[in-house]
């Protein structure tokens, strides 16, 4: 089943073409790594596929309701006034999950991501990488049909990066969640079944 698709999408910023004729369909169970140099348009591609950025031309369509899609931004995006645990549980809470259960699931995800000791810390007390992992946990506990993560390992060391990937993989196998992960690290990209390399606005591989 198609979760999100782009047909001949062109995206321009002030006349500059960032995406030039993108054709991409993400189906249940797909796992993509998006690579490319800084400024090549990875983030832009993810935003289009997440349905958050309307293309200049062409069509981008979502096959599922937007709440079945989770997007983890490149820069830390936690609510600064809430603890790691509350941040991680927030998405569940909005869906009406009982506070106790939401907290339980969030704590589990945080432990898996190596943040078992930091559940009560405020974002400002966490490193950038830790904040990014809390954001991953927050997306993962929602068990979405499609998860788009922008540089989830960009600020992490090797072992933490591996932890994150393991959690994402686990999600993909358990819930058949499709993954679209932007990364500039070829080694990480190599772990994915499909790679999309961006250059000059086009997918080159």
């Amino acid at each position: 089943m198609s979760l999100s698709s782009a047909a001949d999408v062109v995206l321009e910023y002030g006349g500059r073409r960032i995406l030039d004729g993108l054709d991409l369909t993400i189906e249940t169970g797909d796992q993509y790594a998006v690579t490319g140099r800084s400024g090549s348009g990875k983030t832009t591609l993810l935003l289009v596929m997440a349905g958050l950025l309307p293309p200049t031309r062409g069509r981008a369509t979502l096959g599922v309701p937007s709440r079945e899609i989770s997007y983890v931004p490149q820069t830390p995006s936690l609510i600064p006034e809430l603890s790691a645990l509350d941040n991680a549980a927030l998405g569940l809470r909005f869906r009406g999950i009982a506070p106790v259960h939401a907290a339980e699931q969030a704590r589990e995800a945080l432990v898996l991501l190596g943040l078992g000791d930091a559940t009560d810390a405020l974002p400002s007390e966490l490193s950038g990488g830790m904040q990014q992992r809390v954001a991953i946990a927050r997306a993962v506990v929602l068990a979405p049909r499609l998860l788009l993560a922008d540089e989830p390992t960009g600020t992490l060391d090797r072992s933490a990066g591996a932890q994150v990937l393991a959690v994402l993989r686990d999600l993909a196998t358990r819930h058949e969640t499709a993954l679209l992960v932007a990364t500039h690290d070829p080694e990480i990209a190599a772990l994915f079944p499909h790679q999309l390399a961006l250059a000059d606005g086009r997918v080159v591989a």
């Binding site: 950025l53 997007y71 820069t75 936690l78 809470r93 869906r95 009406g96 506070p99």
Partner: protein, 873 residues
């Protein structure tokens, strides 16, 4: 990019920001300009009013043997002179009347020679009561003493056998004190008591009547008042200088009794009080307007910092950046000034009527201040740029705000300020709130500015206290998570607010100050207004009062004449004259149990007891009497003591009647400001054999209409007064007309409402803007618009409710303090501040509605997921 291009680009792309900043500057300019113009205008009105209240400007007394013609010649050369009249008088041993009922003789009396047009020349000196207004006139009390009226023959004792005259009319001398003043008496010697007996005669018969008595020659002069300087002190200086100049010109042949100067001297106190009012009611508002204006202008600073960074990258020097920013700020300022001038004109027109004009000095000053404020605030980022290099956009974003209290609170500044304020207040209270001291005869009023420290310190102290209390309360808000299947996430929202308590407390404090400014002004002016009304109804007697002259034998007022539609209560009161020893005093016979139905009563009227208790004591003692403090002191009387009064009986004979002191009274309906007596009407009726009623007090909510309806039902000789018609002419003891304060109140209240709403909107907009990113993130997590908005509503509710509660409390405290510190303004002093419920409800409603609308719009605007926001750090 050229400067002009930058300006135009800024104007086009940030229209809303420009407009908001310009409006903020405009409000500030409008407030400052209209308040300043109001001060300038009301000050000059003080001079005009003080001068207009003078019955006679100058009384020039010629020294023995002086050349009258030369003195008059010199007087006519004094600038701005309008007219001069010669007035002579002599003191004679007494007056005598003979009639069918017998012969009556007075003690020493004055015979005064007046020119025929004197009543037109000085209308405030003579008030015709009975008979003709010219010719031979008897003063009212003399007429009573002699039991004589128009047509009676009066003999002047010591004037020989030919010294008789036929009375043409009976008059009142309302300004007898100053008319018979001792000209040239040293200042502070005190006014001499006016004579009890006066006969006014045409100059043609004067010489024939007085025999060999010594004659005092005077020249009475009036001047133009419209050319006096606006400032009472300066006007006094001018008048005093002219008097001195004249005295030296006639080389000691005359002494000047400068009543005009004395009145202007008195107006200094009013001027000082007016100034204090502006300081205490206006300045907090203007400061608040400045702060709000600054904050609105500062809203653009973030963006401007970023744009400046870009400009720097493109090679702009700091000086060039500064010039560019200065130009945008200047443009803001100029636009703001234009809006402000229009606003100030409108405000003045609404507050003071169409005659009000902007004072050029204040207007220019306000504009300069507005532009300067805008430029200084917007140049802040440039200075930072120059000092620290590129601005760091990251700085404020992404981290939780600190929950620490600001430094002043950690140092306990709130407690210290409030404590010192309370101490100063207590000291002021101990000194009897003598904030303004006007030493007799010195043209400078001294102000105890230390007393103003109480409110001045209370403002920041209470504001900081609000901050502390709000933060403390918010830090305790812990909502246990409920089942929450709807995903309302109340516990999460309140956790966020708890973490943002410093910001919420700051916003609430700002709002509280804005509300407190309005609330304190509203309470103060309502209290003033109520006291002014009590003052007027005291002077009139009630809402409407029907009065006959005292001891009007043969005439009585029937209470039924006052029972016209719209009347709530009518009280009959006797008004007689009674001798306490040699003193003649007004005596009021009342029904102590019912008099309160129509007469204004306040505890201040009966020192040492509530007015209710005092009247109850009087009612329980048929022969009781309330006397003036002065009388009790002068005659060494105490409560329960016997006091014998001499009253006229129904036939006009004086009879001695025993009374017992039942208490003290300082003020009473229709009573004069000096000594008088209040007793039981039934006792007076039974002891004098006359139950005649001389006064009717009428309570109604439509004084003017009821007064008019009663006017054509009363017997001849009775006067009907009502508070509405009197309001315009009666000024309180401080001379500050109620209309004056009303103007100030309208200005402060109007801008206060505006600022209260602006503050709440501003605090909410700033709060929402800070949380834009949070709202976007929450939207990404699948929150519905309702759930998103909930995050803003929780905070808005906390801030607005805390701000409202604190604002009402602070406003009430400040108002109570102001009412006490400015006790001197009130006459009589209020028992407690009056609370304008309707106005406060309106204020609360306006703030609530404004906040709700702002939060609703913010939630809509900020909840949209803007991908650009997701890229920002």
């Amino acid at each position: 990019m050229t400067g002009a291009a930058y300006l135009m680009a800024g104007l086009r792309s940030r229209r809303a920001e420009w407009l908001a900043a310009a409006v903020a500057v405009g409000i500030f300019v409008a407030f400052l300009a209209s308040l300043g113009s109001f001060v300038a205008q009301s000050r000059s009105e003080l001079t005009v009013r003080a001068a207009a209240a003078v019955p006679l400007d100058w009384q020039v007394q010629l020294t023995a043997g002086a050349d009258t013609a030369a003195a008059e010649q010199a007087l006519r050369k004094v600038p701005d002179l309008v007219a001069v009249r010669a007035v002579d008088y002599a003191r004679v041993p007494g007056l005598r009347s003979t009639s069918a009922t017998g012969t009556r003789t007075t003690g020493a009396a004055y015979v005064v020679s007046l020119p025929p047009d004197y009543a037109a020349f000085a209308p405030r000196e003579l008030r015709p009561l009975l008979g003709a207004a010219t010719g031979v006139l008897l003063q009212q009390q003399t007429a009573a003493n002699l039991a004589a009226g128009p047509g009676a023959a009066i003999a002047v004792l010591g004037g020989g056998s030919a010294a008789t005259a036929t009375v043409d009319g009976v008059v009142d001398l309302p300004a007898a004190d100053s008319f018979f003043q001792v000209v040239g008496a040293p200042a502070g010697a005190g006014a001499s008591a006016p004579p009890d007996n006066v006969l006014l005669v045409p100059s043609a018969v004067f010489g024939r009547l007085i025999g060999k008595a010594a004659v005092v020659h005077q020249l009475h002069a009036t001047f133009r008042h419209d050319r006096l300087p606006a400032d009472p002190a300066a006007a006094y200086d001018l008048s005093a200088a002219r008097a001195n100049h004249y005295a030296s010109a006639v080389a000691g042949a005359a002494l000047v009794g400068n009543d005009l100067g004395a009145a202007l001297l008195g107006a200094r106190e009013d001027a000082v009080y007016a100034q204090l009012l502006v300081l205490l009611l206006g300045v907090p508002g203007v400061v608040l307007a400045g702060v709000v204006c600054g904050l609105v202008v500062a809203l653009r600073r973030d963006r401007q910092s970023r744009e400046l960074g870009l400009l720097r990258l493109r090679g702009a020097t700091p000086l060039r950046s500064a010039l560019l920013v200065g130009a945008t700020a200047g443009a803001d300022g100029v636009l703001g000034c234009l809006l402000g001038l229009a606003g100030a004109r409108l405000a003045l027109r609404v507050a003071l009527g169409s005659g009000a004009r902007l004072s050029p000095g204040w207007t220019v000053g306000a504009c300069v201040a507005g532009v300067a404020l805008a430029i200084v605030i917007e140049l802040g980022p440039v200075l930072r740029l120059v000092r620290r290099g590129a601005p760091t956009v990251q700085e404020a974003v992404g981290s939780a705000p600190t929950t620490r209290l600001p430094l002043p609170l950690r140092l306990g500044a709130d407690g210290i300020l409030v404590a010192v304020s309370a101490l100063v207040f207590w000291l002021t209270a101990r000194s009897g709130y003598s904030v303004v001291v006007v030493p007799e005869g010195i043209p400078v009023a001294s102000v105890n500015y230390a007393a103003l420290l109480a409110p001045a310190l209370a403002w920041p102290g209470l504001a900081l206290l609000c901050w502390r209390v709000t933060a403390a309360v918010l830090s305790r808000v812990r909502r246990p998570p409920a089942a929450d299947t709807a995903g309302a996430v109340r516990d999460v929202r309140s956790a966020v607010v708890r973490q943002r308590r410093r910001l919420v407390a700051r916003g609430a404090t700002g709002l509280a100050v804005a509300i407190a400014v309005t609330v304190s002004t509203a309470i103060f002016t309502t209290t003033y207004d109520r006291q002014a009304r009590v003052d007027v109804s005291l002077t009139v007697g009630s809402d409407v009062a029907v009065t006959l002259p005292p001891d009007s034998r043969g005439v009585t007022l029937d209470p039924t004449v006052a029972r016209v539609p719209g009347v709530q209560a009518v009280e009959a009161m006797q008004h007689r004259l009674a001798y306490v020893g040699p003193d003649l005093q007004d005596l009021y016979g009342i029904n102590a149990r019912t008099v309160g139905r129509a007469a204004p009563l306040q505890n201040a009227f009966t020192p040492g007891s509530t007015v209710k208790a005092a009247l109850a004591r009087l009612a329980s003692r048929p022969d009781g009497a309330l006397l003036a403090q002065e009388t009790l002191h002068d005659y060494q009387l105490h409560e329960g003591d016997l006091v014998r009064l001499r009253l006229q009986d129904g036939q006009g004979r004086y009879v001695t009647i025993p009374f017992h002191v039942a208490g003290v009274v300082t003020e009473f309906a229709t009573a004069p400001r000096d000594s008088f007596i209040v007793a039981n009407a039934s006792y007076i009726a039974s002891t004098t054999g006359s139950s005649a009623v001389e006064t009717l007090l009428v309570r109604t909510t439509h004084p003017a209409q009821v007064g008019a309806a009663i006017r054509n039902r009363v017997p001849a000789g009775a006067t009907v007064a009502d508070t509405q018609s009197a309001n315009a002419t009666v000024t309180s003891a401080t001379g500050l007309a109620a209309g004056n304060l009303a103007g100030l109140a309208k200005l402060t209240l109007g801008f206060g409402f505006l600022l209260a709403v602006a503050s709440s909107v501003l605090a909410l907009v700033v709060g929402s803007a800070q949380r834009r990113r949070t709202l976007v993130v929450v939207a990404l997590l699948g929150a519905t618009p309702r759930q998103r908005a909930g995050f803003l509503w929780t905070e808005a509710r906390a801030m607005v409710l805390a701000g409202l509660a604190a604002g009402l409390a602070v406003g009430a405290v400040i108002a109570a303090e102001l009412v006490k510190v400015l006790t001197g303004i009130f006459d009589p002093a209020p028992e407690h501040p009056a609370v304008p419920i309707g106005l406060l409800a309106g204020l609360i409603a306006v703030v609530l509605v404004g906040s709700a609308v702002t939060t609703g719009i913010s939630a809509r605007v900020m909840g949209r997921v803007d991908p650009a926001r997701l890229r920002e750090g």
